[in-house]
Amino acid sequence: MIEFLLPFQYDFFIKGILVSVLLGGICGLAGVYIILRGLSYVGHGLSHAAFGGAIVGNIAGMNYYVGAIIWSYLASFVIYEISKRNKIKPDAAIGLVTTAIFAFGVLLVSMTNRYTRNFESLLFGNILAITEQDLYIIVSVTILSGAFFFLLHKRLVFSFFDNESAKISGIKTSYIELLFSFVLATIIIVSMSSIGVTLLASVIVGPAISARMLSNNFSNVVFLSIVIGCVASFSGMYASFFLDSSSGPTIVMFITLAFGITAIYALIKKIFHTHSHGGISHSHPHIHTDEHRHEHTPR
């Protein structure tokens, strides 16, 4: 068989590729709304809360998904309620609430001596250990979350852009934001066992900030973020086979690489962007002094 098709003869790899592309896409989509809401830290925070919940659930003899859902929804609700009251910003609320829940989980592990390999795979991810059941859950969550963002796009954008005016227009901004944080928590929970608590923030925020540097158009940012998320996840997963490396960190490296490339591209585009003065449209290196003027660099 041709060498580059070699990984595809393994079922576990095909499943891994499918999961990584699905998660890369849905995290890329959710990431755009997260960065525009100013909640970049939420992926990191909620994944820690879900980890704490998974441990508590496990110790209580429940499926880890059940514990993770209860705790991360609770964390989302508490963060929402704290930050709604304005005195405390969402990032501070995320830092406190999610770390406390994470610490509680670690505390229980240390007290009960029930540290297992499963917890380690939650921390660092193990995409190749995905079961059939996990795959079905990931596919379902991807479809439902995609539908949520598709149908509530307008309301989310208006609420995040200008919350007060959105309220006046009749949008129930409180419900929209709470629902958004629950959807986010769900995406994070299903991503946790594949990508890992410690690596998830990059998969959520990385594609979105890369896409944001390439476009000022919301639809384009969403499209590019999904594409970057899918391509970087596929590439990372595929490369991990040949590099014999862990898939989660390799995916994160590819997302970081995508960010580096887009940052350089955006810089070059900014320096050389086409503009016109003297009635002639042209392009050459120049420095922007503010939004509307620029000075030519000396030749």
């Binding site: 307008k154 995040f160 852009f161 200008d162 006046i168 227009s169 476009s215 940012v221």
Partner: protein, 246 residues
């Protein structure tokens, strides 16, 4: 369904910290079609009053009633267009002029994420009226202050409002841009829209606004600029002993 007749505010009070009133005992009646400018210093409660009128805040006490002439329901609420202070806007948000204006109609109407053809045509008409034809695809950051202000005015207008509420629409604008905004507001007012705005710009409203309210926590005086913008009222409003209208 009836049409908006007048706005009645009775004993309105509101504050942020316990027992600290930002506005207190406000009584006002604003009939349909009036062009009202509310003047007062920073921190006098102008923005709070406008947000109460829009329903963003719930009054601590008192009533805000939008009365209609032939309504069946006591729960009548007119279409209100709100233009916020543009200093509060995140200009890096990736939205175009067309999307910002379309937001004005993004409530219950549609769950599809794109802007339909009918709305695009309405936006074109609004932009033409605002002197911004051809600006649909521009990013909001790539506009001048006056143009940005007009875009947000367009977002309020796409709702076909009975009442238009503007929070400091001329702050930070040059003379020509301020004149343009007032020209547009005058045209809208002539078409029957009730306009309520807040401003620091006394000189401009003295010339352009037919009805002025001096406001500092409560209504100090109201009437035509000639009758209201007098030394004693301004002294009470601004608390400046040496203030004179030039």
């Amino acid at each position: 369904m009836g049409s908006f007749e007048y706005l009645k505010i009775t004993g309105l009070s509101y504050g942020f910290a316990y027992h600290t009133f930002v506005i207190e005992g406000v009584n006002l009646t604003i009939p349909k079609g009036r062009f009202v400018s509310i003047v007062g210093p920073s921190g006098s409660g102008k923005t709070t009053l406008l947000k109460l009128l829009c329903g963003i805040y719930e009054p601590w006490s008192g009533d805000i009633e939008y009365i209609c002439n032939d309504c069946d329901s006591i729960f009548y609420y007119p279409s209100v267009g709100y233009v916020p202070q543009i200093e509060t806007i995140d200009w890096n948000f990736p939205v175009s002029v067309q999307e910002v204006i379309a937001m004005g109609s993004w409530n219950y109407k549609s769950y599809l994420p794109w802007i339909d053809k009918k709305l695009k045509n309405q936006i074109k008409d609004v932009l033409k009226m605002l002197g911004l034809s051809g600006y649909e695809k521009r990013h909001i950051r790539a506009l001048s202050g006056g143009e940005q202000q007009r875009v947000f005015l367009g977002r309020a207008l796409i709702r076909n409002p009975d009442v238009l509420i503007l929070d400091e629409p001329t702050t930070g604008l040059d003379y020509v841009s301020r004149e343009k905004i007032f020209d547009i507001l005058k045209t809208l007012n002539n078409s029957g829209i009730t306009i309520i705005l807040s401003t620091h710009d006394i000189t401009h409203i003295a010339n352009r606004s037919p009805w002025v309210i001096c406001f500092n926590k409560y209504v100090i005086a109201e009437g035509s600029p000639q009758h209201v913008l007098k030394e004693d009222n301004l002294l009470k409003t601004y608390g400046l002993a040496d203030y004179r209208i030039k």
